[in-house]
């Protein structure tokens, strides 16, 4: 078994494709990819923030105060053309034609409405909302709210309420939030769910590539039959191959996590990602060990499964076709773990992958129930053992080996 394992590892380390997926991709490509995404996102946000919107205020003469507010706002610039857009339809056409970014229609009856004191006034803001990052409406809403507050204040004073009493009238009860959850628990709830999304598929990815090579690849190259004719038992052969796949699977997850940790630390050093570092600072080494311990049976399960699939497949391509649906199958239980009201209990502790996913989240939050972790470990180890046994039986079947 040891000879099989050593030979498989040697071959694996000489395979550029596997090395790329298991080592290079996590170390270099993922951080580059994340950095690139972060750069593009911040660039787009920055550009959106810096953008000055061209506006047209219909019936501007009815509210010179608001016209002034808008004119002196650093993010707005009036339309300089000669055309007039005094109706909602005209404003819509102007936005569509790209002549203005936003149009505001003050109703023709504004004067009487504002004087009426008891009437609610309706303004229309015309803009294109089909952009992922768009600050125009928020900025305008803020400005209109500020203007609206001025009118409200005037009306309240007219009703006899002094300025200092306005807050008590407008908001008789204020709420002060006293959160018993500490920073770790809060961030853990949000970030903790992401960790299994990253780790479990990585465990699968690390197992899939060598598994295809070690099972279907051997069949296709014509080396499997020679291997079967050596005085090594089928159990030893499966275990040798299985250990190689397991090692690759765990390495892939460890390399990625270490790489991410290093990159987060580097980013932290230059003052970026302070919140994330702050949130994870209370996660102890024991917590990391616990996460690793929980990932082990998952890696055993997935390694056995991909090896069984690969042994069944006749060719490399056939094995790859089977692996696709398996990745979908792995995502489903992870998605289940982030569904509302899903928590770790004696029932969910028995659902494969969902249980580990929930436990990882709880560990990051610092609220994990250690007895539930024990139960998960037992449940996952039982399933992993059963799958490994199945894999050995599968490898002994003539109908599978000589399809």
């Amino acid at each position: 078994m040891f000879e099989v394992f050593l030979k498989e590892v040697k071959e694996l380390l000489r395979d550029r494709k596997t090395l790329f997926f298991v080592i290079a991709l996590p170390i270099v490509i993922f951080p580059i990819l994340f950095a690139l995404l972060g750069f593009l996102a911040s660039k787009t946000t920055f550009e959106a923030e810096q953008k000055v919107h061209i506006y047209y205020l219909a019936n501007a003469s009815l509210s010179p105060d608001f016209e002034q507010m808008l004119f002196y706002h650093k993010s707005f610039r009036p339309y300089k053309g000669n055309e007039k857009f005094e109706t909602i339809e005209a404003l819509k056409s102007a936005v569509k034609a790209g002549k203005i970014d936003v149009g505001i229609e003050i109703p023709a009856t504004y004067d009487s409405q504002v004087a009426g004191k008891h009437q609610q006034i309706s303004w229309h803001v015309v803009f294109n909302d089909a952009q992922s990052i768009n600050f125009v409406y928020k900025r305008l809403e803020k400005l209109i709210n500020k203007f609206s507050a001025q009118i409200r204040s005037t009306r309240l004073e007219a009703l006899g309420a002094p300025q200092k009493e306005h807050p008590a009238i407008l908001k008789p009860i204020t709420i002060t939030k006293v959160d018993t959850a500490d920073k770790r628990e809060n961030y853990g709830e949000k970030l903790g769910a992401l960790i299994p999304y990253m780790l479990i598929p990585l465990v699968l990815m690390g197992a899939s590539y060598p598994a295809i090579d070690l099972g279907a690849g051997e069949k296709e190259r014509g080396t499997l039959e020679t291997l079967l004719l050596t005085p090594v038992t089928r159990t030893q052969l499966v275990l040798g191959k299985f250990l190689t796949i397991l090692a690759s699977s765990i390495s892939c997850a460890l390399v990625t996590v270490s790489s991410m940790a290093i990159w987060v630390a580097i980013a932290g050093g230059i003052g970026v990602l302070d919140t994330i570092i702050d949130a994870f600072s209370s996660v102890t080494f024991t917590d990391f060990l616990l996460i690793f311990a929980l990932l082990l049976p998952v890696a055993v399960m997935l390694s056995s499964l991909v090896l069984a699939i690969s042994i069944y497949a006749r060719t490399f391509k056939e094995a790859q076709n089977y692996m696709g649906p398996l990745s979908m199958l792995v995502f489903v239980p992870i998605v289940v773990s982030v569904m509302p009201n899903m928590s770790l209990n004696t029932t969910t502790a028995w659902i494969p992958i969902t249980n580990v996913s929930l436990a990882i989240k709880e560990i990051i939050k610092g609220t994990v129930d250690h007895s539930a972790v024990g139960l998960i470990f037992v449940a996952s180890a039982l399933l992993a053992g059963a799958l490994l046994m199945f894999c050995i039986r599968w490898f002994s079947k003539e109908s599978v080996l000589f399809r």
């Binding site: 000879e3 030979k7 080396t223 039959e225 050596t230 005085p231 090594v232």
Partner: protein, 262 residues
């Protein structure tokens, strides 16, 4: 010596073939394909036995049973008095197997390929090194020993495969169409290899479609047709039963007669 007696092997038919009643092949029945129905032969020390038969006759299944890759449904295979059907692990130690389609581990060197199989056969330390060195010299592999198998020529690969197949000094060597698709030079390597084995008194069971190779190398032949051994005996007897001095004609005559000459 290897003695094969009454081998049988059947395979479950695929679902789409189960309800096919029009099949003219009498070996398809009761939901099974009876690939080997009754095959018997023997091959003594220093003897080269040619296993002949048309395509689909059951030669490869028979050889897979000899090599312990497949378990026979009935019958026995004895090597030096040991029934390897009951003890396949012992059989694997006693048999060296080589076929025309056998591959090598491309990312390992020729040396590593041979040494890996030597280790799997339990060789280690000095014994492993001396056996490997002996084979490397005998097969003139010095020039490409440390080249990866994926970069070797067909001839180099075949030499490596030969070394791999006999590194554990097998009692019997089984060759499944070892010259198929090879050029003249590589074929010559195989022919020399079989002659060397014969000189070493190793029994060789050799499946082939090339009757010129049979004439060149074999002492006896076993003709398998439709899963059954139709003839087993010396080359001379084969020609006599086949009523022709030419192996090709004798082969056709025996297959067409359909009777047993075992």
């Amino acid at each position: 010596m290897i003695v094969v007696n009454g081998l049988k092997k059947r395979f479950k038919l695929a679902k789409e073939l189960l309800n096919t009643t029009s099949s003219s092949d009498s070996r398809q029945r009761e939901g099974f394909f009876h690939s080997v129905e009754n095959v018997s032969f023997s091959c003594g020390r220093g003897e080269v036995l040619g296993l002949l038969g048309p395509n689909g006759a059951g030669k490869t299944t028979t050889l897979r049973m000899l090599s312990t890759a497949l378990k026979p449904d009935a019958g026995s295979i004895e090597i030096s008095g040991q029934n390897i059907v009951k003890n396949p692990l012992k059989g694997r130690k006693a048999i060296g197997f080589l076929s025309g389609t056998t591959g090598l581990y491309g990312r390992l060197t020729a040396r590593e390929n041979v040494e890996y199989f030597a280790k799997l056969h339990g060789l280690k330390g000095r014994a492993l090194k001396s056996r490997c060195d002996e084979l490397f010299t005998r097969l003139s592999m010095g020039d490409f020993l440390d080249k990866r198998a994926e970069h070797l020529s067909t001839g180099m690969k075949q030499k490596t495969n030969i070394a791999r197949a006999v590194v554990h000094r097998p009692d019997v060597v089984v060759l499944d169409e070892p010259t198929t698709g090879l050029d003249i030079m590589t074929k010559q390597n195989i022919i020399e290899f079989i002659r060397d084995l014969k000189a070493d008194n190793t029994p060789v069971v050799f499946s082939t479609h090339h009757l010129d190779e049979v004439a060149l190398l074999c002492d006896s032949v076993c003709l398998i047709d439709r899963g059954t051994s139709r003839f087993c005996g010396s080359i001379e007897a084969f020609k006599e039963v086949g009523q022709s001095g030419e192996l090709n004609d004798a082969f056709m005559n025996i297959v067409n007669q359909g009777s047993l000459h075992v």
